[in-house]
Point group: C2
Chain length 256, copies 2
């Protein structure tokens, strides 16, 4: 049975997609069978793995509403890369369409029952909101990784997100655990950033990953080439940090 | 009649809130009567203006659903600052609740009819999505300002956003114009950033503001002190850029 992990934070631009893609790639490189689900209508995870969205007939939208079997939507862009179920702009209408269904939060969990027989880990990249798409991911998941940009505004959303996770655990998914909080775009030269880091470690002591991800300009370049950073610029500090994160993640997720 | 301008982009973390707050503050400083509407459940615009959200009884949530008159929700944190209608976490349930209403996209437009008699400009800070909250802002608005971070992934969402704006203009709000595209976190040293800027200017030649906003670490600091950057660190390059933007914005919005 695969472990299902959602990468989520309603704050925008904190590194959810960058983390989902590079974590999935590092785990796949270490021999795990990995499926990445792009659940964001922007489709940034699909682009970051080099998927050309224009030609896609079967995306997560068709899978969610039962129009396509999940197996038809799975793509492996290169032999080394993780499998991915891409997202297209059609997904932006999904939240309103889901709102009208009976078990509206359970759709994704149902879709992932079959593939979790063949995979070791399924990683879900969430959009920057706490709407029905993210709720579907939280109901399907065993764990959540929460990327937090080391900026003041990012702190605000963290306690709101923790409250939501508690509600989901009580009412919809008792298995849901916090796999870890990941500090991203870390720059040790800035006093404010160090202060934000101290706050996060104070409020959530056991949950912060030891690994943090430094800011690195080649992240954006790797995305423009549709290649995970850990292969595009493997010697960069951020790439090495994602490899280290994959080891720490595996200890927390697979050794239980 | 006030001009109503939505600050929107479904890509997260591109500078929507930073732009909404500093543009509103600069316009208010120049003598305009300004109302800022925080339409993001994260409530970052409220925090950036120093509003303590814990004690709020009347927020944009109560106003949208008719529980509070708008006048009761308006706050002016200091005598110089713009007026604001704050957002609280209650707003995160609004999209599902709006989905069940008949004129679900028109709620905000109706709420803003009265205040636009007394204001010169109403600025709406949108969440990072194209859901019903953002749709309400686009139906109420005369213009949109689109902050775009100079990063590769940010380009992807731009054409999707333009398609949505076209649909809103055809079906819901024929007055909707693009006030301008604002390039944020601009760093001229990076080759990729200069490439992204060239792409944006090529696709949307007349719409990009001449002013762009440089990256500046004191932005985040100003937010932690609940003070707009243009007052917190008025000599910084980003603060001067926002003052320049306010002038360019006024020419595009008020001189018509
Ligand atoms: N470690 C890093 N160093 C430098 N830039 C980074 C880093 N991580 C992410 N970025 C850049 O920051 C931007 C935001 O990252 P990303 O898109 O992964 O965040 P996100 O949380 O998925 O955003 P959204 O909320 O829109 O889904 C991207 O342009 C990306 O290139
Ligand atoms: N010019 C700038 N220089 C440096 N940092 C900036 C600049 N503009 C914004 N930031 C920082 O980038 C982060 C994202 O900015 P902001 O919150 O305004 O974006 P947003 O688009 O409103 O995000 P969201 O999608 O979550 O609503 C914030 O932490 C902010 O402090
Ligand atoms: Mg993303
Ligand atoms: Mg914002």
């Amino acid at each position: 049975m695969a472990k299902i992990i959602a990468i989520t934070n309603q704050k925008g631009g904190v590194g959810k997609t960058t983390t989902a893609v590079n974590l999935a790639a590092a785990l796949s490189q270490s021999g795990k069978r990995v499926l990445l689900v792009d659940l964001d209508p922007q489709g940034n995870a699909s682009t970051s793995l080099g998927v050309d969205k224009k030609g896609i007939k079967h995306s997560i939208y068709e899978v969610l509403f039962g129009h396509s079997p999940l197996k038809k939507a799975m793509i492996q862009p290169t032999s080394e890369s993780p499998w991915i179920i891409p997202a297209t702009p059609d997904l932006s209408g999904a939240e309103i369409e889901l709102a009208g269904l009976p078990d509206r939060e359970q759709q994704l969990r149902r879709c992932l029952e079959k593939p979790s027989q063949e995979m070791d880990v399924i990683i879900i990249d969430c959009p920057p909101s706490l709407g029905l798409l993210t709720l579907n991911a939280l109901v399907a998941a065993h764990g959540v990784v929460i990327p937090v940009q080391c900026e003041f505004l990012a702190l605000e959303g963290l306690s709101q997100l923790m409250r939501i996770l508690e509600i989901v655990r009580k009412r919809l998914n008792p298995d849901l655990q916090i796999t870890g909080i990941l500090l991203t775009m870390y720059d040790k030269r800035s006093k404010l950033i160090r202060q934000v880091v101290r706050e996060v470690e104070k409020f959530f002591p056991d949950q912060v990953f030891e690994t943090n991800i430094p800011r690195n300009i080649t992240v954006s370049e790797s995305q423009s080439f549709g290649t995970p950073l850990i292969w595009f610029d493997k010697k960069s500090k951020a790439a090495k940090a994602y490899q280290k994160l994959a080891k720490e993640f595996s200890k927390r997720v697979f050794s239980k």
